[in-house]
């Protein structure tokens, strides 16, 4: 599924909003004004609404169902998307390890935030890289540390 779009340079608001939304969807940027997502009913709908946003901001937009001409090209696209998610999972795992050493209140709060981030990355992860499991394990470990702490606190409580 491809979205081709052109937006006026000014105002910059719609460009920024569009880019933020595309990023959240996990698109692959093929070139300037051309992004791709694996085709399914959800990705299609998401790109359709974004295309309408572009039109509403006096831009031009088109939706295309396209197929890479070679397997190599398809693989390159999937590899690129997987690598982008892998980097996000690595950051998440790093944040989990960093949070393990903080005080219990901060740790619980961070755990909640990181779980939300994990779900967000999952939603845009179409070609799960091995880093996904590493991040999942880091999250579980942080949850385990937080749980031990909670038990210890409730035991000393009157």
């Amino acid at each position: 599924m491809l979205l081709s779009y052109r937006l006026p340079r000014e105002p910059s608001g719609p460009r920024t909003t569009l880019w933020r939304r595309l990023k959240r969807l996990g698109v692959a940027q093929l070139s300037d004004g051309l992004v791709a997502l694996p085709a399914d009913s959800r990705t299609r709908e998401a790109l359709e609404w974004l295309a309408d946003d572009v039109l509403a901001a006096d831009g031009t937009a088109g939706l295309w169902v396209a197929r890479p001409a070679t397997v190599a090209q398809e693989r390159e696209l999937a590899t690129g998307m997987a690598a982008a998610r892998a980097a996000e999972y690595r950051d998440l795992a790093g944040a989990c390890r960093a949070a393990a050493g903080t005080d219990p209140t901060d740790r619980t709060r961070t755990l909640r935030r990181l779980r939300g981030e994990w779900r967000a990355i999952n939603r845009r992860d179409f070609f799960p890289p091995p880093e996904r499991e590493v991040a999942a394990a880091a999250l579980r470990q942080l949850a385990a540390v937080a749980a031990v702490e909670t038990v210890a606190v409730s035991e000393v409580a009157p």
Binding site: T17, R21, R24, S41, E45, E48, W49, A51, D52, D53, A56, R119, A120, R123
Partner: protein
């Protein structure tokens, strides 16, 4: 009155259908189409590209309908936050109900047709509405 929307109903369309039947048109009849050209001449389209009752300015269709029909019930606007997050997930609102509701609706679309999804999700939205109505009245979580 007849109302038309895209087939393969998900959270925003299910919530809109509930909103329409409960607050705008008790006798609403819904038609599900795969293309905008199939919308019957006498039907009002919603949650479709290029129609008035669609996504506008970052709003989902549920929010658009509330605005368009000037529904100011604060409970409905709280539900709108949930529907918005379940549909668009852009962190505009804090709606912890959203991810669960999203999964339930996606699951329903796998086990039955659109009429079934509306039939099952209707009472779910009734319950959500009642919960948030009581929360608003009490000023805290109802029991």
């Amino acid at each position: 009155m007849r109302w038309a929307t895209r087939a393969g109903v998900h959270i925003d369309r299910a919530a809109c259908a509930w909103l329409i039947r409960r607050f705008l048109d008790p006798d609403a009849e819904f038609v599900f189409v795969t293309d905008r050209n199939e919308v019957p001449a006498d039907a009002t389209p919603f949650d479709m590209r290029g129609v008035e009752l669609g996504h506008h300015g970052g709003d989902c269709s549920f929010e658009t309908i509330l605005r368009r029909y000037e529904l100011t019930d604060p409970v409905l606007w709280r539900l709108a936050e949930i529907v918005h997050e379940a549909d668009l997930d852009d962190a505009r609102f804090d709606a912890p109900e959203a991810p669960g509701l999203d999964v339930v609706l996606r699951g329903l679309s796998m086990t039955g047709d659109d009429a079934h999804t509306l039939a099952v999700s209707g009472p779910v939205f009734d319950g959500l509405y009642e919960f948030h109505r009581r929360r608003l009245l009490l000023g805290r979580e109802p029991a």
